[in-house]
Amino acid sequence: MPLLQVEDLSTYFSTDAGVARAVDGVSFSIEPGETLGIVGESGCGKTVTSLSIMGLIANPPGRIIAGSSIRFRGRELVDLPEKDMRRIRGNRIAMIFQEPMTSLNPVFTIGNQIREALTLHRGIGRSEARRVGIELLREVGIPEPEQRFAEYPHQLSGGMRQRVMIAVALSCEPELLIADEPTTALDVTIQAQILELLADLRGRRGMAVLLITHDLGVVAEVCDRVLVMYAGQIVESGTVDEIFHRARHPYTEGLLESLPKLAAGGRRLHPIEGTVPNPVGWPTGCRFSSRCPYSWDRCEAYVPPLLATEDTNHLSRCWLEDEPERRRTSAGAGSEW
């Protein structure tokens, strides 16, 4: 049984302009110990997906639409009473965010915040919590943990704060860690430290990780499997090798082509023309069609389902899988990118 099974998840928001369908029919699963990446650009629905899993969608303005299902070890989380959700959130599913400064309470010491998690979720006594807390800080690579225990968040650097957040998240020994852009606010040498730490912890503790990011480099480095999201939907899913070496969906192709790569000798970039459509009125048909170099009449009229490709379990939401000859005939379009 998968650790987490998301089926047909739709999360909508009421806005002045109408209903924004931020997440629109997303299905995927995570196996125990696996690292799954969700990658996509701003507004694609990746963060709303993770907040929906955590039961953190404020209602109003947001709501998870009837028919959506999120099962954790077989147990349905959608519409679970808040009291029960609390036992899962933090305990068995933990989450870390992009900006650790906003997730740590500025008026309490680091020690206070770790101890709170330990006593609340694991029922550990006060002095024991101090010992376990210092041990956790040491595990996430904080130097002089005894001293740091008494310090406040503002006394720490960005990288150290993210380590503290990870320590708090680990305090309950979660089976699933959701990391939403965990290294985006950090400098590249500090990012390398945090990625190293996450890989290390995953190996040591065997926990599953759902990594949400816009950075294709980070995904390539840490994930086993990847979901590419665009306009509230999954447009492609596969292993990291499939996504990076045999991308099928024109959006994934476009993302990889528009990325400046190190030591690529200044080749001209191939951007995706245009911009992401508005979530209040997604286009009928394929949501990428207006920016797609292959698009034909079928794409504008009919929504493609996630279709099988040559690789098992590698899916692409694109009519090209159904009419592969179109890829060849519009090869010119590919080089125009």
Binding site: E41, E196, A220, S258, L259, P260, G265, P271
Partner: protein, 342 residues
């Protein structure tokens, strides 16, 4: 006999320093200084792009602002086309601003929310007395919008009606409106999604080619900097630690910091061997209020030859190859460095 002379650089910076005072106590006087820029020198030639790269707090943005006198330097010399920028009075400064412009990271914060794009550009043209009368200006505005790839109708719209990438195009149009020779691009694509980032990068290189622009391109993203630059300078704690033509810097980095920085970039290629060659630096960047003695990088340096001398001697930028200089006293010795990464 023909005597060949090197053309004079468009911009020449020598020993630039910017110290920000930290005031406090009963009497409002400086108790300490943040040494944001601590002795930076470089030349920039016409039509060239110099990439200035480094992590947050290294002083790269402060350098860009000091050059344009958006902030006043504490010490050093800045010559633009042979003229002393630091000695300029207000009218000379206004003339400089017609030739030297800037594009910022967050286009939304740098655009007036209550002015339409047309009004904003019209104001610039009026202030600098460009493009003649009303109809002349109107035509110039349309031309500018077309140059940066915006629809002519954009003229009557407000900044909030545009996406991030379009706003950055407006910022570029505004910078171009005075027909500058030189533009400081301060993290111009950092706030943009990759697909849109590529659009803006291509636009900047097209404009450079068409209009013969010179760029100082400030960014933290090493891949973006490699893509747009002819030469690159790497900054750490207010100093340039390495500078070289783009190809040498990325294929044969010499300074231990540059090598660690390049090896830390996650590559969008899932190959299992990346992490093995990675140099993961320990600790954080020290505070620029009390930078380490000697080499500013020595507390985090991984170089096997690091010793006491590194904490005593401030290394000068010394030649380590053709047009390639690095500030590390361990580089002049003939030693085999550990295998290359990446």
């Amino acid at each position: 006999m023909v005597i060949q002379t090197e053309p004079a650089p468009l911009l020449s910076v020598r020993n630039l320093r910017k110290y920000f005072p930290i005031t406090g106590g009963i009497l409002p006087r400086a108790r300490a200084f943040v040494k944001a820029v601590d002795g930076v020198s470089f030349d920039l030639h016409r039509g060239e792009t110099l990439g200035l790269v480094g992590e947050s707090g290294c002083g790269k943005s402060t350098t860009g602002k000091a050059i344009l006198r958006l902030i006043e330097a504490t010490e050093g010399e800045i010559y633009f086309d042979g003229t002393d920028v630091r000695a300029m009075g207000s009218s000379a400064l206004r003339r400089l601003r017609r030739r030297a412009q800037v594009i910022f990271q967050d286009p939304f914060a740098s655009l007036n929310p209550r002015m339409t794009v047309g009004q904003m550009l019209d104001e610039v043209l009026k202030v600098h007395k460009l493009a003649g009368d009303r109809s002349g200006r109107r035509q110039r505005i349309r031309e500018l919008l077309d140059t940066v790839g915006l629809l002519v109708e954009s003229e009557d719209r407000y900044p909030h009606e545009f996406s991030g990438g379009q706003r950055q195009r407006i910022g570029i149009a505004r910078a171009l409106s005075v027909e500058p020779d030189f533009i400081v691009c301060d993290e111009p694509v950092s706030a943009l999604d990759v697909s849109v980032q590529a659009q803006v990068i291509n636009l900047l290189s097209d404009l450079q080619e068409r209009l013969g622009l010179t760029y100082l391109f400030i960014a933290h993203d090493l891949a973006v900097v490699e893509h747009v630059s002819d030469r690159v300078a790497v900054m750490y704690l207010g100093r340039i630690v390495e500078t070289a033509p783009v190809r040498s810097l990325y294929t044969e980095p010499k300074h231990p910091y540059t090598r660690a920085l390049l090896s830390a970039v996650p590559r969008p290629e899932p190959r299992r061997d990346h992490r093995h060659g990675r140099i993961v630096l320990e600790g954080d960047v020290p505070s620029p209020v009390s930078p380490p003695s000697g080499c500013p990088f020595h507390p985090r340096c991984w170089h096997p030859l690091k010793d006491d001398a590194c904490s005593r001697v401030t290394p000068p930028l010394e030649s380590v190859g053709e047009n390639h200089a690095a500030a590390c006293i361990k580089l002049s010795r003939d030693v085999e460095l550990p295998p290359k990464t990446g």
